[in-house]
Amino acid sequence: MNRSQAKLTQGIDWPIVGLYLALVTIGIMSIFAAEYRGDDNIWQNIIHLNKNYSRQMMWFGISLVLAAVIWLTDSKFFTATSNLLYAGGLLLLLLVLGIGKDVKGSHSWLVIGGFQFQPAELTKLCTNLALAKYLSSQETDFTKLRSRLIAAAIALIPAGIIILQDETGLALVYFSFFLVMFREGLPGVLLVIAFSGIVLVLSALLVDKYVLFIIFSVITALVIYFMRREIKRKRTRLLVILGVYAFCSIFVMFIVPFAFTKVLKDYQVRRIEVMLGKENDPKATYNTRQSMIAIGSGGFWGKGYLKGTQTRYDFVPEQSTDFIFCTVGEDFGFLGSVIFLGLYVALLFRIIFVAERQRSTYSRVYAYGVASIIFFHLAINISMTIGLAPVIGIPLPLVSYGGSSLMTFTMLIFIMLRLDADRQMVLR
């Protein structure tokens, strides 16, 4: 008996399992705290599944079964079916576009037997598998532009369909795969360029175009001045600098205003402006403000479990899904929040450690994918609750209420653990 048990769990990475269980438990406790009212009959609520925390417990149970099934599956199954699962995921996304149900303004839900299900969550897993499969295949040479473009397409096609479903937040997560590609050899300068591009677009929207033009001119003049020696040595450098300057100016002065008046529709423009806080959308600022009040009122020690007034009194909207961090921030304060974030950092670093000990590219890419997805969710979600990012509705991994999300992250992590247990094999 003992021997077979030892065999059964052989090779499992216990630290990750422990962190996983800790986060899900904190999640259920937080959802409970967000919903609990002094006079609730807890056992009855759990049995009747009529509260989010009781349903989350059910999803946790189902997730554990899924985890066990994955653990008992042969690793080769995942490498063999990666592309098939990816194609299936895309089909599912397209299906939702056709027959999906509208929930809170996004057209991304399927209803199966009374339960709502969001395929956009699941396709993160499919995409991660497909990307690992592609990058590990023997024909792929990731130093070639062609391979990089194909890899980018694998990551961004699902994002495109998801944007059509009005779930821009979830689509954003697919950009996390560029972190994986960076690890696999995508030039670092691309990350810098992407970052600069985002800054350029945002500043074009937020700052007056003439002001920006002056700023660009000044920067260019300074650069030319400080690089005058290099420029003397090599005349083409001047052309590059002037080219970048011309591009930025034309982009800000003409392309963005043109896109806003001629290409985009009125309501799209409005949505962008609201997202950037340029136009005041009372509902959006209300959410952030209430969430900041809840977290800020936690202080250093927090008010104590179940003692928060803001989350308990329904001031914070969506408090068991997107704004679940408010409960942690209010009840456990700064200290609790830092420990909570520490758990995530530990999980992410452990996953990176696991990734680096893989022999097969497939497993390494996959594991980095898991880390990147969790990191993006974490960063965007928490930044949103503390007013660092616009309100983008994506869940906090393993903690937010939601069956699709919990099951997806469970599968992501346990497939990685399975691959890790078989790290002696060469998988591709």
């Binding site: 009212r37 002094g38 006079d39 929930v103 809170k104 990731f142 972190l179 960076f182 690890r183 696999e184 050899g185 670092g188 009125d266 309501y267 409005r270 009372p282 509902k283 600022t285 209300y286 403000r289 900041m292 009040i293 809840a294 977290i295 800020g296 009122s297 936690g298 202080g299 250093f300 007034t309 803001q310 308990r312 009194y313 329904d314 001031f315 909207p317 921030g329 209010e330 304060g333 700064f334 929040s337 830092v338 974030l341 995530y344 950092v345 992410l348 670093f349 990176i352 680096e356 590219t361 390494r364 980095y368 880390a371 990191f375 960063a379 928490i382 930044s383 503390i386 007013g387 660092l388």
Partner: protein, 645 residues
């Protein structure tokens, strides 16, 4: 490659750590450095007050406000925050005993729980509110006064169109679509108030006020930095003419049925009367729940909007549409004639016609003005049996019902008030089920004269007149012409022109001339207005009901449809007067008076006696009137209004 890129692990770790450090820094400022957040959350120091925006006003086409807002106050309770207060004093102000007080608190807990607000005493009378406001600090923070907006209706008309507002139900509160509502909030529950709830409600604001040790608000917290302003609801501007609406309601007094008047050039509804009707002031404020029970139970069903919810066989008023299908399909031309000798013998059972003189159906125009049953029975059969469809059961009836659907029949047209009826347009599947597969153009020949299984709502009938008057196009009938500062897409579908058939202008001219002849010299002469050419069509809808389990013929419904001026119509009307017999007797004068009122602004002296007779006529069943409390209810609303003003 793995070895080559190994250092990049460090970069990724650095990115993660950088982000987490950024978050922790922000948390440090939010939770430790900044004290105002903690204070905001402290209910004892800062009062969080919801500011209710004023609800949008509804104006008619002449920019007259047809409803206005009054403010009354609710006393709401948060059971968990009720501290030791002088319950006796509160009970005295509210004029309730302690037992009742306890019962209301228990009720509030059962409904919304301890920490959420529930209404304790709704819509307080002015003197109670005055007393309470002075001593409110004694009862805070457990009790609060919350303003509620109550509608009032100076014209006392258009009840079924405007709808009403009321407290949100507990079921809706749980629905995520209503996430921004709190218990006790009011929202539109019917009519335009319901359809345009999103624009009418506005956006609630929040104020944070500093309180002193007696809980009295002392001014804005942090200079109002955290406040968000309430944004008033947007006003609606209707195509409705409230005077025409009132006039129509007077004409329909004592009768059962409805009037729908539409501007064919925009699709804007000018008036929509459902009779008997009620005073909208009955459904405001604290009277709403009692009165709505009484109205819903009343034998005359005043809350049933007959103009869109009831459907009737259109009778002969349907003949222009039969003609249009025949013309569009090319089975007839305007000069097509039929030798009717007093009945249609094409099917086994003859269909009687009112006329038998030779040549009364020698062409389309004559056939329409004489309302020849034989002619239209024949045209219907020609249309559905046309060889190109392979017979009625293969494609003929399907094609015919497709035409009807494009005319706006058999489905909801999409008017901007809820609960529209579809009506029935039989299609092959319908008859397959009804006759178990054995049917032909003779089984359904009654469709040709607007009888049989076909039913339309008065709105659909009026819209059909728009199609004829516009020579083949219509806009979806609607009330709201514009929304102030509109940024929604609610009205887009009403700006789109629908073209239904591609019939030549000469063919339309034949139909329109046939209809003007009806009023000039035919069955609808009573509808004439001096100086205006009117196209009209009388109809008599046979009416069957079930009495004692047997299908019996009841008294016919009178129907009249019309449009004027015939050259370029500005108004299209459909009138139904239930159980009043032949169409020309009551329906035609009512339609005509409506058109005269709208086009000429007043009724000529010559026609005043007709108007008076129509208004005084009662066709309602005497037994039903005896059981109805509607008149006394409406009278009570009028007293209430005049009494307070």
């Amino acid at each position: 490659m793995s070895v080559f890129n190994q250092p990049r692990k460090r970069v990724i770790q650095a990115i993660i750590l950088g982000m987490v450090v950024l978050i922790i820094t922000r948390l440090f400022f939010l939770q430790i450095v900044e004290k105002k957040y903690a204070k905001l959350a402290d209910a004892n120091a800062v009062l969080r007050k919801v500011v209710y925006p004023s609800r949008g006003i509804i104006y008619d086409r002449q920019n007259r406000a047809i409803l206005s807002n009054d403010v009354l106050y609710d006393l709401v309770v948060t059971p968990a925050s009720v501290k030791a207060i002088d319950t006796g004093y509160l009970c005295k102000i509210l004029n309730i005993d302690k037992e009742e007080f306890r019962k209301r608190i228990v009720n509030a807990i059962v409904r919304n729980g301890r920490v959420r607000q529930s209404v304790f005493a709704a819509l307080l009378p002015a003197e109670v509110f005055g007393q309470l406001q002075e001593s409110m600090y004694l009862f805070q923070p457990g009790f609060e006064l919350v303003p509620r907006q109550i509608r009032s209706y100076p014209y006392a008309a258009a009840a079924n169109i405007l709808g009403y507002i009321g407290e949100i139900s507990p079921e809706k509160l749980k629905d995520s679509a209503y996430a921004s509502y709190n218990s006790g909030d009011y929202l539109g529950l019917a009519g335009l108030e319901r359809t345009y709830e999103a624009v009418l409600m506005g956006t609630r604001g929040i104020q944070y006020l500093v309180k002193d040790n007696l809980n009295r608000p002392q001014g804005a917290y942090e200079g109002g930095e955290f406040d968000s302003a309430a944004i008033a609801g947007k006003n609606l501007r209707l195509s409705l003419d409230i005077e025409l609406q009132q006039f129509g309601e007077k004409l329909m007094k004592g009768k059962m049925g409805s009037i729908v008047a539409i501007d064919p050039q925009t699709g804007g509804i000018l008036a929509m009367i459902s009779a008997p009707t009620f005073d909208p002031n009955l459904l405001t404020g604290s009277y709403r729940s009692t009165n709505s029970v009484l109205l819903n139970r009343d034998t005359t069903k005043p809350t049933f909007n007959r103009a869109i919810q009831a459907t009737y066989p259109p009778g002969s008023t349907f003949k222009p549409m039969i003609a249009l299908v025949g013309l569009d399909e090319g089975v007839i031309t305007p000069s097509f004639g039929y030798p009717c000798g007093g009945a249609y013998y094409g099917c086994s059972r003859p269909i009687k016609c009112e006329h038998h003189d030779a040549g009364h159906a020698a062409n389309l125009r004559l056939a329409l003005s004489h309302s020849c049953n034989s002619y239209f029975s024949h045209v219907y059969r020609l249309s559905v049996d046309a060889a190109k469809f392979g017979g009625i059961r293969v494609g003929g009836l399907q094609k015919w019902s497709d035409y009807m659907n494009s005319f706006g029949f058999g489905h909801r047209i999409g008017v901007d008030i809820p609960s529209e009826a579809r009506g029935i347009v039989p299609n092959p599947a319908f008859y397959d089920k009804m006759y178990k597969g054995s049917w032909n153009s003779c089984t359904s020949v009654f469709l040709g004269i607007g009888q049989g299984e076909l039913t339309l709502s008065p709105l659909q009938m009026a819209n059909a007149m728009c199609i004829v008057a516009n020579r083949g196009s219509y806009y979806i009938p609607h009330f709201v012409q514009s929304i102030d500062n509109d940024d929604t897409h609610l009205l887009d579908k009403y700006k789109e022109k629908h073209v239904v058939a591609h019939i030549s202008d000469t063919a339309y001219s034949a139909v329109i001339h046939g209809m003007t002849d009806v009023v000039e010299s035919g069955t609808g002469r009573v509808a004439q207005i001096e100086g205006i050419t009117i196209g009209g069509k009388t109809g008599t809808a046979e009416n069957y009901g079930i009495v004692d389990g047997k299908r019996v013929k009841l008294k016919n419904h009178a129907v009249f449809v019309a449009f004027a001026p015939a050259e370029k119509a500005r108004i299209a009307v459909a009138v139904i007067v239930e159980n009043s017999g032949f169409g020309a007797r009551y329906a035609a004068p009512i339609a005509s008076l409506m058109m005269e009122k709208y086009l000429k602004d007043s009724i000529s002296t010559k026609r005043q006696p007709l108007m008076k007779t129509v208004m005084e006529t009662v066709t309602l069943d005497a037994a039903m009137v005896a059981k109805s409390k509607l008149d006394s209810l409406n009278a009570s609303a009028a007293i209430k209004k005049n009494g307070t003003k």
